[in-house]
Structure formats: structure tokens, C-alpha cells
């Protein structure tokens, strides 16, 4: 028999004891137990009336001090408090999630890469596969960057150059080629978005060719866009489909521009001199000769004006050749190129970062918490054992 098990008679006696303490009648054979209980209870120490009064006053005073808390009776209940805490936590989590999603949507809709105005300066756009492409001051073909899984923010290195020609200003013509891959089913949609994005950035479609023919579908565009908006357009187009290749080149046309300007200045001075000679020409033959020289000179000046305008236009306007090819692997990317999807992905990245921070914080806090818990448990156990020891030796 287990040491904790009682016989039926013993259990019956304990039941009788409960009845005695509840002042219920018991059988005759338990009267002795009732007498024992009565004797123990009668011999128990009783409170001194003075102490009872002091205790009353003490408890009443404590109650009076805590009474103001009774104005929030519902929250004082542990169950309701837990519910309130849980609700508060849920609301806080919802607010945090909304903020993250909202910031992601805003970032996704803005999607504005930085465009610097320093002439000839090179600045890379973050998270851009082509960011390693070197800038070239002379016309050169930049390295082709294979980007089989380009992300939504894929763009290009930014070789922006202001066309201003004052002081050390440089005039740079930018020429880029972008090859995208998408599924045949989304070819037309991507083509439409390319046109729309070009117009949104202030550019024009100089030429386009879209062919929908299953796996042989392709599209090509020649776009002219303000130089300062080229990188933004490339980034936008890169988000429409998977980037297969990006080729960027720059051509510094400052010297040509300055040479034309110098020629124009010289010719203008020559023209002024000829006009002065013409005004003082004595003979008709002199006048005719001077007039012919003036005519030739003005033709050259007009040509120089046109060349200067062309060079300036080259510096202000960048060209972007976009090719779109069919590729099955790109279908998923093309289907998820919407701004909300981009924003959602950004939000997920933000949540991943938050989770990572939380994990790191947990990794730091957890050992301390476990140590504190173990310490608390140890102290409690030791104290309880000491109490039991005190009881045994009392």
C-alpha cells in the first residue's frame, strides 16, 4: 500500500472530521474525534481585544489608502486586465504593421532615384546591378551586366551631367541600352507600361516596334528622355520585368561644343568687321565682294548655331534603347511588377528586418531572463526549504 493511501476506515474518519468542523452531526463512534476537535479548538490562543482593534484599524487604514484605485474596477480584475493587455498588444501590432505597409507603399510609389547635377561626377544608385559600371569620358561601350534576376529596384549607374557650359561645366551625352525579359502573355502590358513610364518622365518614344508572336514575341523602343531623368526611367523600367542586360555609355561633348562656340564667336567678330568695311566701301566692286563674304560667313554662322543647338540637345537629352524579349522565367516577375506588389515586398523586407532585430534582442535578453528566472527559482526553493527546516526544528 502506498504511504499516501488511506484505508476506508481512515477516509471515513477524515470525512467525519470535515462534518464535525462543519458542525454537522456524526455517528457515535466519531464522538471521540469531535471531543478532540473541541479540546484543540478550545485551547487555541485567542486574540487580545486590544490587538483585534489595532488590526482592524490597520487593515481599515490600508484599505482607505488604496480606495482611489476602485474607480477602475473593471481593469482591476485580472481576467479583464489580461484581455485589455492582449487587446492593446493587438492594436499596437496592427498599428505597427499598418505603418510598415504604408511606408512601403509610399516608398514603392515614389521610387525616385537620386539624380545629381555635378558634371562628369559619377554616383551609384544603391542596389543597382550596373552600379559597378565605370564612367567613360569618351564614347565607349560600357560593360554589359547580366541580370537574370534583377529586383524591382534595379537601375543603372548614374552619369548625370548638366548641360550648363559655364566655367568647369561639362556637357555629356548619355546613351543606354536596356534589355528586359517577360512572358509572352505580358509582353503587350510591359510595352504599354514602358510608353507610359517614358511619358511620365517627360521623355518621348522616338520609335517602337512590338511583335506578339508567342515565344518569338519581342518589342523594341528608342526613347529620348531628359538626361536628368534617365536613371529614374531605367529604374522604373527595370521594375517592370526581369532585367537581362543593361549597357550605359557617356560621351563628353564639351570640347566640341566649346570649339563651335569659339568658331561662332570668331565668325561673329569677322562679320562685324565686314559690316564695318561694307559701310565704308568706296566702290561697287568692293561692296559686292564684301557682300559675298558676308553671305558665306552668315551661312557658316547659321550652321554653327545649328551644330551648337544639336550638341546642347545631345547634352540635355539622353537616348535609351529598350528591348523586351520573351522569357518564361520572367513571367513571375512581370506579373508582380505592380506598385502594390513592390510596396508589399518592401514591407516584407522591413518586417524581416524588424524580426531580425527582435531575434537579436531576444538572443541578448533571453540568457539574462533565464538566469533571473533560475535565480528566482533557486532563491524561492532555498527559502522554502529553510522555512520547512524551521518548522521541523520549532
Amino acid at each position: 500500500m502506498s504511504r499516501n493511501e488511506l484505508t476506508a476506515a481512515e477516509r471515513e474518519e477524515l470525512d467525519a472530521l470535515d462534518r464535525i468542523l462543519a458542525r454537522e452531526p456524526v455517528s457515535e463512534r466519531h464522538l471521540e474525534l469531535a471531543a478532540l476537535v473541541d479540546s484543540v479548538r478550545a485551547g487555541a490562543p485567542r486574540m487580545d481585544p486590544a490587538f483585534a482593534a489595532r488590526l482592524d484599524a490597520q487593515v481599515a487604514e490600508r484599505a482607505a489608502r488604496r480606495r482611489p484605485r476602485a474607480v477602475t474596477p473593471h481593469l482591476a480584475r485580472p481576467g479583464l486586465r489580461r484581455i485589455a493587455l492582449a487587446s492593446g498588444g493587438l492594436v499596437a501590432a496592427a498599428v505597427a504593421f499598418t505603418i510598415v505597409i504604408s511606408s512601403g507603399v509610399l516608398n514603392g510609389s515614389r521610387h525616385t532615384p537620386s539624380v545629381e547635377s555635378g558634371l562628369g561626377a559619377a554616383r551609384t544608385v544603391p542596389r543597382t546591378p550596373a552600379s559597378a559600371a565605370p564612367a567613360t569620358s569618351k564614347r565607349s561601350v560600357g560593360p554589359t551586366i547580366a541580370a537574370p534576376t534583377a529586383g524591382a529596384g534595379a537601375g543603372a549607374s548614374n552619369f548625370a551631367a548638366s548641360p550648363a557650359l559655364h566655367g568647369a561645366a561639362r556637357l555629356v551625352h548619355k546613351d543606354s541600352t536596356l534589355t528586359l525579359a517577360t512572358s509572352p502573355a505580358t509582353m503587350q502590358s510591359v510595352a504599354n507600361r514602358i510608353v507610359a513610364a517614358t511619358e511620365r518622365t517627360g521623355g518621348v518614344v522616338q520609335s517602337s516596334n512590338v511583335k506578339i508572336a508567342g515565344a518569338a514575341s519581342h518589342a523594341s523602343f528608342t526613347l529620348a528622355v531628359p538626361s536628368g531623368h534617365l536613371n529614374r526611367l531605367i529604374a522604373t523600367l527595370s521594375a517592370l520585368a526581369s532585367v537581362r542586360a543593361l549597357n550605359q555609355s557617356t560621351n563628353d561633348i564639351t570640347d566640341s561644343y566649346n570649339q563651335e562656340q569659339a568658331r561662332l564667336t570668331d565668325n561673329a567678330a569677322t562679320r562685324s568687321a565686314l559690316l564695318a568695311q561694307l559701310a565704308t566701301a568706296a566702290t561697287a566692286a568692293q561692296q559686292t565682294s564684301l557682300q559675298k563674304q558676308l553671305n558665306r560667313l552668315e551661312a557658316r554662322i547659321a550652321a554653327e548655331h545649328r551644330e551648337i543647338d544639336r550638341l546642347a540637345n545631345q547634352g540635355h537629352t539622353a537616348t535609351l534603347a529598350v528591348g523586351v524579349v520573351a522569357g518564361a522565367s520572367a513571367a513571375k516577375h512581370a506579373a508582380s511588377a505592380g506598385p502594390f506588389t513592390t510596396a508589399f515586398n518592401r514591407a516584407l523586407h522591413a518586417l524581416e528586418a524588424i524580426l531580425a532585430i527582435a531575434l537579436v534582442a531576444l538572443a541578448i535578453v533571453l540568457p539574462f531572463a533565464l538566469s533571473a528566472l533560475a535565480l528566482w527559482w533557486g532563491v524561492t526553493s532555498v527559502r522554502q526549504r529553510a522555512r520547512e527546516r524551521a518548522m521541523r526544528t520549532a
Binding site: R3, N4, E5, L6, E10, R11, E13, L14, L17, D18, L21, R29, E32, L33, A35, L36, V37, S39, V40, R41, A42, G43, A44, P45, R46, M47, D48, F51, A52, R54, L55, D56, A57, Q58, V59, A60, R62, A63, A64, R66, R67, R69, A70, P73, A76, R77, P78, G79, Q384, A386, R387, E388, A390, M391, R392, T393, A394
Partner: protein, 176 residues
């Protein structure tokens, strides 16, 4: 007795429940503590401390872990044992609980003899046995409440109680 107004939470935290608990338990808690400590002055301090702690922790009371009465007696027991530990460390001498022998003079001699016999027998018991009997007889705790206070299983509490009663009978020379 003064009416206590407490923060209305569940169990003893609610004003009415705490008031009821205080009214119904104060005398029993004192009797239990005084019997345990065998020092009236210390018993008063410990009883006051127990109600102070109970009032302070009333929001932590969890009805799923026992009755308010067992919760209060557990607090009183810990306070009393802490007092015993303190006295053991400091080597303080025991004062005696007030002599109630005079109360027996007015009783029937047989009853007075019996009560005196039981009182002396109780004093001879081991502290653990005496405590179990006091918690049951004076505190009027159920076996489940007893188990909660003594931090043991209910069956173990029943066994300990029955053995303590048997030992009390033995030392008192009482036969069942």
C-alpha cells in the same frame, strides 16, 4: 470589526470578499500562528503582517490555485516560518502563549482535564504534526486547502493529517 473597502477584483481582492475573509479568518489565523510560534507578541506581529501581505497581494490571487482561505493561511504560514527562522538565527527566547488555565477552572472537571491533556499532548507533538492539526482543527481547512498550504498532494495531506491525529491520540492516551 471594521468594514474593509478594497479594490474590487476577483477573490479576496474584491472588497466584500476580503472583508468576509478577514472577518472569518482573523481569529483562526491568529490562533494558528500563535500556536505555531508559542509567542503571543510575535503572533500578533505575524498576523498583522500576514493580512498586510494578503491585502497587498490580493490582485495576484488566482482562484484556480486554491480558495481565499488556503491562500491566506499559506501567507500566514510563510510569515510565521520566517519569524521562526529569524528567531533561530538571533537565538531569541520563546515567550509563552498566555496561560489559559484559568479558563478551565470554570469548566466541568472532566472536560477541563481532557482539554488540559490535549493541550499538553499538542505541545508534545512534532512541529509538523502540530501544524497539520492546527490548520485542520483551528483553520478548518479542507484537505485540498491543507494540501495547498503544505505544498503537497491532497492524498498526502490526508495521510499526514490522519497520522498526526493518531499521534495526538497516542500522546494524550486516548483510544478510538
Amino acid at each position: 470589526m471594521t468594514v474593509i473597502a478594497a479594490v474590487p477584483t476577483s477573490g479576496p481582492g474584491a472588497s466584500e470578499q476580503f472583508e468576509q475573509l478577514y472577518r472569518s479568518s482573523a481569529a483562526d489565523v491568529y490562533a494558528y500562528v500563535a500556536s505555531l510560534l508559542r509567542d503571543r507578541s510575535a503572533a500578533e506581529d505575524v498576523t498583522a503582517l500576514a493580512f498586510e501581505r494578503a491585502f497587498r497581494r490580493r490582485a495576484l490571487f488566482d482562484v484556480r490555485r486554491g480558495t481565499p482561505r488556503s491562500w491566506l493561511f499559506a501567507i500566514a504560514r510563510n510569515a510565521a516560518l520566517d519569524e521562526l527562522r529569524r528567531r533561530r538565527r538571533s537565538g531569541a527566547l520563546l515567550h509563552d502563549v498566555a496561560d489559559t488555565t484559568s479558563e478551565l477552572e470554570d469548566l466541568d472537571p472532566d472536560l477541563a482535564d481532557r482539554r488540559l491533556l490535549v493541550r499538553e499532548g499538542l505541545a508534545e507533538l512534532a512541529a509538523g504534526d502540530r501544524e497539520v492539526i492546527l490548520l485542520k482543527f483551528v483553520g478548518r481547512l479542507s484537505n485540498a486547502e491543507l494540501a495547498r498550504v503544505l505544498r503537497c498532494s491532497e492524498s498526502n495531506a490526508g495521510t499526514r493529517l490522519h497520522r498526526a491525529i493518531e499521534r495526538l491520540r497516542e500522546v494524550c492516551g486516548v483510544t478510538q
